[in-house]
Symmetry: C2
Subunit: 214 residues, 2 copies
């Protein structure tokens, strides 16, 4: 497969593919000679993954590069590689620890983890980007006067935990290790838009059930 074919099969312009090659999101093709390179199914698959991460997952190019670096790193063990890929996602600015809302949010989230018995997550509080994101979101809501305490967060957390159980069950069903890592990344990146869409659809459904269409 040459560049133009890769472009045709994926629906991505050659200029953009070149850009991805330059940015290291796509490994170079097998160089035949100075002016020809050969691409295969793996390239096509990777290209589709990249596109999905960027367009559906809305990840910046730099993040995609980082995530893929972990996915491809054979030197890492299973769960580290998986975690590394997921942790490259952050997207969240560091919370300002001096801010009173942030401090309050910290306490609420810690209380939540205690209440749920999420002892593992508790160990990661200082480093996990997910934990940081949660604090930032709770702080933003508190700043607006919405009191999202552990009590109110708990039922949501419970539902999200069940979602995570589904995720991991699917993960374990994947046949190969390489596929599991890719699946894990997809589960984190692409399932989120999917969950978001389901959530909004459910909101619409429930709103209509309660109040009709007007």
């Amino acid at each position: 497969m040459r560049l133009a074919e890769l472009s045709r099969h994926s629906g991505v312009s050659t200029a953009t593919i070149k850009y991805y090659l330059r940015e290291g999101l796509l490994p170079p093709g097998r160089q035949i000679n100075a002016t020809t390179a050969e691409y295969d199914e793996e390239h096509l698959r990777r290209l589709r993954l990249v596109r999905a991460m960027i367009q559906v997952g809305r990840l910046p190019v730099s993040t995609v590069r980082e995530v893929l670096g972990h996915v491809d790193d054979d030197s890492l063990g299973r769960s580290i590689r998986l975690g590394a890929a997921l942790w490259a996602l952050p997207q969240v600015p560091e919370p300002d620890e001096d801010d009173e809302y942030v401090r309050a949010a910290h306490q609420e989230v810690a209380a939540l983890l205690d209440r749920l018995g999420w002892h593992n997550a508790k160990l990661l509080t200082t480093i996990s980007p997910a934990y940081r994101s949660l604090v930032v979101a709770v702080a933003a809501l508190r700043r607006l006067g919405y009191d999202w305490g552990a009590e109110r967060l708990a039922p949501y957390a419970e539902l999200m935990h069940r979602t995570a159980v589904l995720d991991l069950d699917h993960l374990e069903a994947q046949p190969s290790e390489a596929e599991r890592v890719e699946t894990a990344v997809l589960a984190a990146i692409l399932n989120e838009p999917l969950l978001r869409a389901l959530h909004r659809l459910a909101q619409e459904e429930e709103t209509a059930r309660r109040y009709g269409f007007e």
Copy 2:
């Protein structure tokens, strides 16, 4: 409260506040004379809402303007106003109906709604952005070879529905109509990062439970 004070109370620079005023995200202050305007608590609250939508919710300025337009539109009835505000959020490119994956995704999602008995949502399929987003996400996953059919989506949808029930219960607990609309917007915009963070945290917890830290 004058501009500088508004800036101090919110932590947003005066230049940025001026920008928001220009962009119509913030109503102008009460004009005292040619060079002074007075802002009040409402402005502060609105400013914080805007910031939260932009920074936590990652909405583009144009979308924020649109959402706020609906929030402020007193001529609309309750659920329309609510829906209008929520529907301004999409962020999703139109799916290409000629694409085979998109068509397959359409069918799967339709089957899902039947299976769940979401008859109201079914009526909205042609217009709801949430529906479109779902189709796009499912299509992207199918393109990568992941077969997310109605069967696999259903348990997730079930969990998201419960989440939506929690959302609406909270909504009904809000005392005033204006607050309900604002709360609905926040529920759609700010709860999502919150849910996402909870989801990831739950994934980390569950991964650690199953495999430990190595």
